[in-house]
């Protein structure tokens, strides 16, 4: 037996009160840590994803909708743009990479994103990090798909499996009739490593495959084809896309190009003539240019307000929990006067009693914080699929987080301070006055 045994026995003697107090601390800490973890990872995910691309060209409409649609695979596109725009981007010397985007199908609610093979080779889902194949290869021929890591996990599909994808982006309810491209099954040729972004939860294919799935001309060609020969990309006549994502050689060029596309054409004939020389000028009337980093900053400032409110509410829960520790311990003091007096007759110093009380409150806060951390992480785990589906972000629990450690250390510090209040009462307890049975 040591002083810590005495602390443990004192806590277990009032097991119900101790358990409830620990629970209240755990709820407070769990909420704060869950909110903090989700907030931090959401912000990181949004910022990192937006860092990989400088400009998005899409049909005129909501810039935010386009950003969410192209970068996070949420919402629908603002419309279609001419395929010639993509060709112009590929030729433009200011553009380092141009990636087409054509979306319209899904498989069990998972979006099938039509893009180019170069997107998987050079595209950066997060800053300075390309896609990596966990298995197989990138798509190169017709009707081939590559699965994002979460998509592979959710569908259970692997290399060589075939699937028939449905028209539309929404999962069809059980029993309802889906418009399925069942005459054109696609084959899985690759699975990507996790990137921690919304790209993990999509199925990538060539934009020409997407076009083929929606092209009536191509479908007619298939029906007329009695010999059943191999089909190639050359047979596909792509006319439109949803968006083109650009990575510029010079980030400044993104701002200039956005200005050219988004701002009204000046009346000055000389300036007008200068602008007309730009290969993107002819598309000015039908497209908009979106700088994703600006949209994400705007989004985060809106979401940040809600998160701040959540954080305040969680902090309030923690304060209430800490008060409950104080009240629970303080309320026991009346019943413990005699025990403390007995300890004194056995040679316990006043400071020993003070330490016992502080250890008790610290133990409650420490156990509550540890349980809160665990509960918070479990909450994050359980919310992760919802966040992926609704916000297109990957949130992971049980990650190293220095802010969580800081919260727990802060809680223990406050726990020690709280223990001082009943501790001082114990310190002042008069052994002679309190030796008689209560």
């Amino acid at each position: 037996m040591t002083l810590f045994t005495i602390v443990r026995k004192n806590l277990t003697k009032r097991s119900l009160s101790t358990s409830l107090t620990i629970l209240s601390v755990a709820v407070g800490v769990g909420l704060v840590l869950a909110v903090t973890t989700i907030q931090k990872q959401t912000e990181d995910a949004y910022r990192q994803t937006s860092a990989g691309f400088d400009l998005i060209l899409a049909a005129k409409g909501s810039a935010m909708q386009t950003t969410l649609n192209t970068m996070y695979h949420l919402e629908t596109s603002t419309g279609v743009i001419p395929y010639a725009l993509y060709e112009a981007a590929l030729r433009d010397p200011r553009v380092e990479y141009a990636y087409p985007l054509y979306v319209g199908d899904s498989y069990r609610g998972i979006r099938v994103v039509g893009t180019s093979e170069s997107f998987l080779r050079f595209g950066e889902p997060i800053k300075a990090q390309s896609f990596r194949l966990a298995d197989g290869r990138a798509f190169s021929g017709m009707f081939e798909v590559v699965l994002g890591s979460s998509a592979a996990n959710r569908t259970g599909l692997s290399i060589g499996d075939t699937l028939t994808i449905s028209h539309g982006l929404v999962e069809v309810a059980e029993g309802a009739e889906a418009m399925v491209h069942d005459h054109l099954p696609v084959i899985v040729v690759g699975v990507l490593e996790p990137t921690g972004t919304a790209h993990d939860n999509v199925i990538f294919t060539d934009y020409k495959t997407t076009t083929a799935l929606h092209s009536i001309e191509f479908q007619n060609h298939l029906h007329a084809d009695e010999l059943g020969h191999e089909h190639s990309f050359d047979e596909i006549d792509v006319k439109q896309l949803d968006a083109v994502m650009l990575r510029m050689k010079n980030p400044q060029a993104a701002l200039q190009l956005a200005g050219l596309i988004n701002y009204p054409t000046p009346d000055n004939p000389f300036m007008r003539m200068q602008m007309a020389r730009d290969p993107f000028f002819p598309f000015k009337t039908v497209i908009m240019a979106v700088i994703p980093a600006q949209q994400i900053s705007a989004l985060l400032s809106i979401v940040g307000n809600a998160e701040r409110v959540l954080k305040w509410v969680s902090s309030f829960v923690i304060v209430v929990a800490l008060l409950s520790v104080l009240i629970a311990l303080y309320n026991t003091m009346e019943g413990r006067r005699r025990d403390l007096a007995i300890f004194r007759t056995l040679g316990a110093r006043r400071t020993t009693l003070l330490w016992i009380m502080m250890f008790e409150s610290s133990a409650i806060v420490l156990i509550g914080s540890a349980l809160g951390w665990l509960g918070g992480q479990l909450l994050v785990s359980s919310l992760a699929p919802f966040l992926m589906d609704s916000a297109g972000i990957v949130v992971r629990a049980f990650q190293h987080d220095s802010s969580a450690l800081l919260v727990i250390l802060l809680m223990i510090g406050i726990g020690i301070l709280i223990g001082m209040v009943p501790g001082i009462k114990a310190y002042r307890n008069d052994p002679v006055q309190n030796l008689s049975p209560i």
């Binding site: 040591t2 056995l346 040679g347």
Partner: protein, 210 residues
Amino acid sequence: MIEFKNVTKSYLQPILSIPELSITDKSQIGVFGPSGTGKTTFLHLISGLIQPSSGQIQVAGTNITVMKEAQRDVFRAKHIGYIFQTFNLVEGYSAIENVMLGQVFLTGKANREKAADMLEKVGLADRMRHNPSELSVGQQQRVSIARALVNDPDILLADEPTGSLDAASSASVMDLIQSFSSGRTLLLVSHDPNVLDRFSERISLEEFQP
């Protein structure tokens, strides 16, 4: 040796006034006096739980009246064994844990074997894991005696140790206390003439009324 020199103790009014009193080492003394004559206060003064209003008290060659409170606490844990009328066992702690409490506050760590040995000596080898509420009053007082003796104190202070016991238990507890007090100084407060008859040396606190 326990020595009182010009000691007075007052609360709202004077309770004790002991101009001079010497108790030699290893003496066995019965302390008596009517209610309100300061018998418990007398023991608390020796244990250092309270300080005299004036005067000096030497215990085991140490002037405890000049010691700081924390020093007196350590001194008490080391030199004094206390037995109470109401046993003062801590509920929620088993018999052996109550005995070990006496060790923890002296050394910071308990010696379970020694505590078990003490309980065996007072006849409670089969009651070590019982809570105080699961023991008879006589057994509770035995636990209290084991706790008082576990640190091998020089001085045993007993405040009405048989006050809550029936005659049979009282005799048995007194036998136990006296058998363990040989080689130590024992100061035992009692109202009971049968108990006081066991002591050839007695102090009447009526003599020290202000």
